[in-house]
């Protein structure tokens, strides 16, 4: 199946708690969206969305019922590995994006690049690596920056702290 998350062996037969929880979240989301449709002026705007929302609530309901009646394989996947690094990766990306309008793309991007490199580093830090890696990081950022701003003429944010 396309994009099957990781290996099949980690599918356990314990009940699909996560699935049920997610279905619950989706139902709440659908309720909020349904409320939003009531603020719409034109009937054309909410006909289709409401149909989809109703379908979604029905499917979620069915999932919850199925899970309660017949707990089956969750189809979920255990994740090995370091959660800390995962969180740091996302934090680095979010932080860099948030800072972009402030310090400009180049600085924010370079910062994120270096941070993520550290997060993904599993090999020991030899002296060679200590020097070459950060230089490579900087080089890659510079190349992309020039490619995008000069060749592709994309106006990357320049930040409030500069010019």
């Amino acid at each position: 199946m396309p994009n099957e998350p990781n290996d099949m062996d980690s599918m356990t037969t314990k009940s699909d708690v996560a699935g049920t929880a997610m279905a619950g979240v989706f139902i709440l989301l659908a309720a909020a969206a349904m409320w939003d449709t009531t603020t719409m002026v034109d009937a054309d705007s909410y006909v289709f969305p409401r149909a989809v929302l109703i379908a979604m609530i029905v499917f979620c309901g069915l999932l919850i019922v199925r899970n309660l009646v017949r707990p089956g394989p969750s189809g979920a996947n255990a994740s090995a590995g370091s959660s800390a690094r995962r969180v740091l990766l996302v934090a680095a990306m979010l932080g860099s994006t948030a800072l972009m309008p402030v310090v400009g793309f180049f600085i924010a991007g370079l910062g994120a690049f270096l941070a993520i490199m550290m997060v993904a580093m599993y090999d020991p830090w030899t002296p060679y690596r200590r020097i070459v890696y950060p230089l490579a990081c900087a080089a890659i950022v510079v190349v992309f920056y020039i490619l995008f701003t000069r060749v592709l003429l994309v106006p990357l944010p320049s930040g409030l702290l500069f010019d």
Partner: protein
């Protein structure tokens, strides 16, 4: 062959150089997630002012075709469609890469892209006028049914739990409604947020849902990203060629599907890839392998999406209606040059058009050697670069790429947010593909439905509108076939084995 005298005009050294440069540049642009063919072509517009229309078209067509192919690299090696047209390539391309067949996948993609591009260009050369009529006959109702057909793929794409796939698709549909609605000018589902005002952009959502979860898992373990089972010496070209020949029917069928979908204005490479994939899966003897690394899948999607290049030019040149987003930009460039598209284009401006079409053939053929070489380097790089450099590079590319689509920081935020959501959903058994399907098809389905309803209600022909038109009926037949074929096939197999047993 029509306009054969212009073949010579197409083969000037200048044009060959343009085609080569275009294909190489396009392939590189396409391989970077977030950079689309549309952007690449838009950047080139000022350069084309100083060129002849035919030369400008050749350059833009070459970039376009290279970019569509280039999207396969990231799809196969990083599970990220470099361009939306490569979505379906991830389904089998990435599993192939993970089990060590990445180089085979890349080479197959190259061959398939070239074949697809040639078929599309051939249709453009020979069958433009009649096919353009088909494009016009495809109205709102047909788009609606086509979107519905696309949605039947959910059953194929949701592993195990059909319910979770359906929920995912609904979620994707809802995401597509966020922002300003074209059909009613209402602002929907933004909950007052400025970030969401622009809606969920498809390419950044794709990157978020497919690539970010891969990155998140890459940092978590020190294992190699892709398995390498044997020395990556060659391209595995002989193997790929043999495979392509053995499955040539799949190749041709997918190319034709791609061309036909490309003709439909508004349906681009992504839909072509999905439809071809669905058909290939249905018709294949090895349909169980699809989604786990079936080379047929890669073949089908890559030939279909490159066929949309030629196919998309048909309504663009004959009717002046752009078949795909890059076509809209190219049309704009032509307009500025004063070239009037329309049926007279082939008769009055025959030199421009035929020179261009032969140039497109040329560029597509040039893609074979350039694609193989670039593909090999791409593969080598991804395999050998240490994770500590690969992850930040890809992460950085996703940020700069998703920003560049609409010059919007909001899109980057949405991408990361969807990435995190996608990672969690993946863990809980919700695959990202149905969500993406919903996202892509949502607007098409809604617009088709509302427009058809408005027209049908106004002319009091509602049932006839939805169920009375020949093309719609054909699509509905396909939908039913898609839904029930697996059941029927199972029933047949059961019947046959029971008669055998007697």
């Amino acid at each position: 062959m029509p306009g054969l005298e212009y073949l010579i005009a197409a083969l000037t050294p200048f044009h060959i150089m343009l085609a080569l440069a275009g294909v190489v540049a396009g392939t590189i642009v396409g391989s970077l997630p977030g950079l689309t063919a549309t952007m690449a072509v838009a950047v080139l517009i000022p350069i084309t002012f100083s060129m002849e229309p035919a030369s400008a078209l050749i350059l833009m067509g070459a970039i376009y075709t290279g970019a569509i192919y280039g999207g396969a690299y990231a799809a196969i090696l990083l599970n990220t469609p470099g361009t939306p047209s490569a979505i379906a390539t991830t389904f089998d391309g990435f599993p192939m890469a993970k089990r060590g067949d990445g180089d085979l996948a890349v080479t197959l993609a190259c061959i398939a892209s070239v074949v697809g591009g040639l078929v599309g260009a051939a249709f453009l050369l020979w069958l433009s006028p009649p096919l353009a009529k088909v494009a016009l006959a495809f109205g709102s109702v047909e788009y609606f049914w086509l979107a519905m057909f696309g949605l039947t793929m959910i059953s194929a794409l949701s592993q195990g739990s059909l319910l979770k796939g359906l929920i995912g698709a609904c979620f994707g549909l809802l995401l597509s409604f966020v922002g300003v609605a074209e059909i009613s000018a209402d602002v929907r589902f933004t909950f007052g947020s400025r970030t969401l005002l622009g809606g969920i952009e498809i390419v950044s959502a794709l990157i978020g849902l497919y690539c970010i979860p891969v990155l998140i898992d890459m940092v978590a373990t020190p294992d190699r990203h892709l398995k390498v089972t044997h020395k990556t010496g060659g391209f595995r070209l002989a193997e790929a060629l043999a495979f392509s020949w053995n499955y040539k029917f799949n190749l041709i069928r997918s190319s034709v599907i791609g061309t036909l979908v490309g003709i439909l204005p508004g349906a681009g490479g992504s839909i072509a890839g999905l439809v071809a994939y669905s058909e290939a899966r249905r018709a294949s003897k090895n349909s169980k392998d699809f989604g786990h690394g079936a080379p047929e899948g890669v073949q089908a999607t890559e030939s279909a999406n490159n066929a949309t290049v030629g196919g998309g030019f048909i309504p663009t040149l004959v009717l002046g209606i752009p078949g795909t987003p890059p076509d809209a930009v190219i049309l704009g460039a032509l307009l500025i040059q004063g070239v009037r598209t329309g049926p007279t284009l082939f008769t009055d401006n025959g030199s421009t058009v035929y020179t261009f079409i032969y140039g497109l053939f040329l560029a597509t053929l040039l893609m074979l050697p350039t694609g193989l070489i670039i593909g090999r380097y791409a593969y080598r790089t991804i395999i050998t670069v240490p994770k500590s450099m690969l992850v930040p590079t890809v992460a950085f590319m996703t940020i700069i790429g998703s920003y560049s689509i609409r010059n919007s920081v909001s899109d980057v935020m949405i991408m990361i947010a969807l990435g995190v959501v996608g990672w969690f959903l993946n863990r809980f058994g919700f695959s990202p593909s149905p969500i993406v399907l919903g996202l892509i098809l949502g607007r098409i389905a809604e617009q088709g439905f509302v427009q058809a309803w408005t027209i049908g209600a106004a002319t009091d022909e509602l049932p006839a509108m939805f169920f009375g038109r020949p093309i719609s009926l054909a699509i509905i037949a396909f939908i039913l076939l898609s839904l029930f074929y697996p059941l029927i096939r199972g029933r047949w197999a059961a019947m046959r084995s029971s008669t055998d047993a007697e």
